[in-house]
Symmetry: C2
Subunit: 504 residues, 2 copies
């Protein structure tokens, strides 16, 4: 998912100044309050070499009272440290109640550098993920606020920064052989980072990926995230101190929980999607036929090999889910697949866990199930409309990841498609639906209401894509302004995934 | 730990009748209240063939309103079920809000029968434990009360029951070839069960092992556990409905949380320890010398091989921890070991996680650390004296298990000794300490106060032994009325464990 981020995002000087002054003041006040309330705070910085960790940590501590925090730089383990389990050297650095510790790199070295170097693999790697998870959960249970930032820059940007440093004799020493070696291994580190983010993201210790090309943008995103997390924790600990001080909510979003961080600073995967990708009719028809035939062959093959396939469709209203599913299944043997349309849960479903109704519909070995909307409703409509509590949808990312892990452990191919259209294209389609009698049934008042909530939905979609795109069950974002392009892309992705499995 | 349980425990007919009548009434009322409050309840029964699962489940449902529960018997998976991930068939059986589901065997089949049969092993086994853990946690987070019973009988008792059934033509059919095969594999199942209990015991889904030789005893233990769990959950959901209805607390235990289940029904590991095991002076002297010399050799060997060893001592006051540690270390090279005495935490330690001070003291590779009292204080003195909350000590079992797993992953040999003396022997030693001037410093008012709390401490010790005895870091219970015996047993255990590691 990292490669989808829009790294070109910037903040102008004047906007930055204004926002930053405000954040500085709030941060200083929050530090004092956290000290009084004895809240320990852990802030982890990971990221690429030359992504600006040092500078950003410096910026972050400037407004803080220096008696209340420590910065700990994590180097390769010393000889003494290497004689202990890898978490040993971090335990003494965990903050006392009321203090803040910032880690410039951390225990994640174990699953990044040590992993790419081949020191940690297989069972040991899995144990490292478990150890990290239980370490952070145990500290969180003990009251620690834990925030983790990954500073992301592209390979090209890293090269640009290295070149600049090396050209200047005064800074050339800052780029060493290790840096250049790691630069060459960018792709390997990227894969390790993706897995790390997926395996160690938790509601009690969430990752925030920071687009770090623009220093001002990165600064604001980090400050906002820290300020927001501290404000929430403090508010939770002193609920009585703030009678009726709940912020006024803008109209039309009455039940939509406020975005934790200003939307402008949220992940920006969707903005980076070129929804205009298109294909002409002749090429579409030709390819469609060929791909549908190939899928039919594969349907037979997965049946013989007993491979189950679960495909979830999500997307904006009018993004073309129905038509896409029809083209996917058009040529298939109906005994081998099933389409499950997902609407609001009925009373019986509501009396169970939200995953209950999806579990019963999961494909058996050798079959394909297509979900027209899916279990992701929990973190989309239920989140945005306030049908579940914040704790519930925050917990859901992990629950869903674990369910999908369970399915893939069994051998299921799990694929998830987000059909992305532009807001303008949606409007065009809505109007067309109203104009054409045979399409009118497709458009309701609710569609228009949902459209008004485009922005909060977008925040939810971005977070969903980020927190549930895993190596074993990846999201595919489908550019869907051109339905032909969207249909072929989904077919291609499904065919690729099944071929990979049948060849394995 | 299962082999340490006292399976001979019995309840008399009259006592049973009285207790059972009361429990029946309470259970029926609790079911109604749980329905109103929409609490879903899951009760899992696992245990040996012929341990009485069927009969006990029947007893348990008798007082219940039949419209409010389901019993689900888990057979080997059908062909259809085998085409899905192993949790799939249990999902539809999870109770709706307000209902109770009893599982006669369950998803634990995957880590018991399927494991012993060799179908599930290695990575797949580890995944099964992870899948079970996340399944139960997700249901618990959604409000389910989850209780798990393991009905335990000895191999001899199982044989006796099978023989009786087979002698009678009317019941002979109930013992099939599979039963007899599993009976022969008793030891294998026992090992799998121990690991299952250790890996899947959680505060949100605890295991209760039921000594099932005596039907009345087993019935009362199961009923009490269910009643207690429901009462707690209901009380937590309706705190305002019970103003000042907190039960009166007996004097002298003011801060001691009530035992969840009557003490008479708790696990009974300690009652089964023969503290009178003894050895005569000559044999002691001869063996002590020899074993100490062997340990000295091993100290050198672990140094060369960089193996760390962590040894925790716990036990009753005056059980002889200090003298035992002295004999263990008497002949060692002082550069290779360290003794860490553990008292109440100081202010700096109190400002951190309770494990913080132990982490920093853990042995580095090649060294031995002996802890005179340990991190187990959390679930002993801190629990009994109310120095931490119930949620905190309940969470601690898992935290401690995970810490010890982390240590053993690194290669540390982790050993834990509980020095067990009889209450009479403690009294004798206390009096001796008062009588003899040179021992008087060892006895304080606090020792006498602790002695008064023998019973609640015993409950805490039993639960600690049960929940934290893991395959990778086992407890050894040391019969310590005879100090000589105790010293030799500890030496033997340490020597064995290190030899096992150095030979591996």
């Amino acid at each position: 998912m990292l490669e989808k981020l829009d790294l070109s995002r910037k903040v102008g000087k004047a906007d930055f100044k204004k926002a930053k002054d405000d954040l500085d003041l709030r941060l200083a006040a929050l530090q004092r309050r956290a000290k009084d309330l004895k809240i320990p705070v852990i802030i982890v910085f990971e990221g690429w070499d030359a992504a600006g960790k040092g500078t950003l940590i410096n910026d972050l501590i400037l407004p803080l009272d220096p008696r209340g925090f420590n910065v700990h730089s994590t180097l390769p383990p010393s000889q003494e440290e290497a004689l202990h389990p890898f978490l040993w050297r971090f335990w003494p650095r965990t903050p006392a109640r009321g203090r803040i510790t910032l880690f410039d790199r951390s225990w994640y070295r174990r699953v990044l550098a040590d992993r790419v170097d081949g020191q940690v693999k297989g069972r040991t790697l899995q144990q490292a993920f478990d150890d990290i998870t239980s370490f952070e959960r145990l500290l969180a249970d003990d009251g620690n606020v834990i925030l983790k930032f990954f500073l992301h820059i592209s390979k090209a940007e890293q090269k640009r920064r290295f070149d600049k440093l090396r050209k200047n004799p005064a800074t050339a020493w800052r780029v060493n052989a290790g840096d250049l070696k790691r630069h060459k291994q960018y792709a390997k580190y990227l894969a390790a980072t993706e897995e790390m983010l997926a395996k160690t993201d938790a509601d009690y210790a969430p990752w925030t990926v920071v687009e770090a090309h623009d220093h001002r943008f990165a600064t604001l995103k980090i400050f906002s995230t820290v300020v927001d997390a501290l404000e929430r924790r403090i508010a939770a600990l002193e609920p009585k101190a703030k009678p009726k001080a709940a912020p006024a909510r803008p109209l039309g979003r009455s039940r939509c929980p406020a975005a934790p961080v200003p939307e402008a600073l949220q992940a920006s995967i969707l903005d980076n999607v070129d929804t205009s990708l298109a294909i002409d009719r002749d090429a579409y028809r030709r390819q469609l036929k060929r791909k549908q035939n190939r899928l039919r062959e594969l349907e037979h093959e997965i049946y013989m090999r007993r491979i189950p396939v679960a495909i979830a469709y999500e997307g904006w209203d009018a993004a073309g889910k129905g038509g896409n599913i029809r083209r996917l299944t058009q040529n298939l043997d109906p005994r081998g697949y099933e389409v499950v349309p997902v609407a609001a849960p009925n009373d019986i479903e509501k009396a169970h866990h939200y995953l209950w109704r999806f579990w019963t519909a999961m494909p058996k070995a050798g079959h394909i199930t297509l979900f027209d909307r899916s279990w992701y409703g929990r973190v989309l409509v239920e989140r945005v409309e306030g049908f579940c509590s914040e704790a519930e949808w925050k917990r859901a990312y992990r629950e869903i990841n674990e369910m999908e892990q369970h399915l893939t452990n069994f051998g299921t191919v799990v694929l998830k498609f987000w059909l992305q259209i532009s807001k303008n294209e949606q409007l065009r389609r809505f109007k067309e639906r109203q104009r054409l009698a045979y399409k009118r049934w497709k458009i309701t008042e609710e569609d228009w209401r949902n459209r008004e909530k485009w922005d909060p939905y977008k925040v939810a979609v971005e977070e969903m894509l980020f927190r549930t795109s895993t190596p074993y069950a990846p999201w595919t974002i489908v550019e869907a302004d051109c339905k032909w392009h969207a249909r072929l892309k989904v077919l291609d992705t499904v065919i690729d995934a099944i071929e990979k499995r049948t060849k394995a």
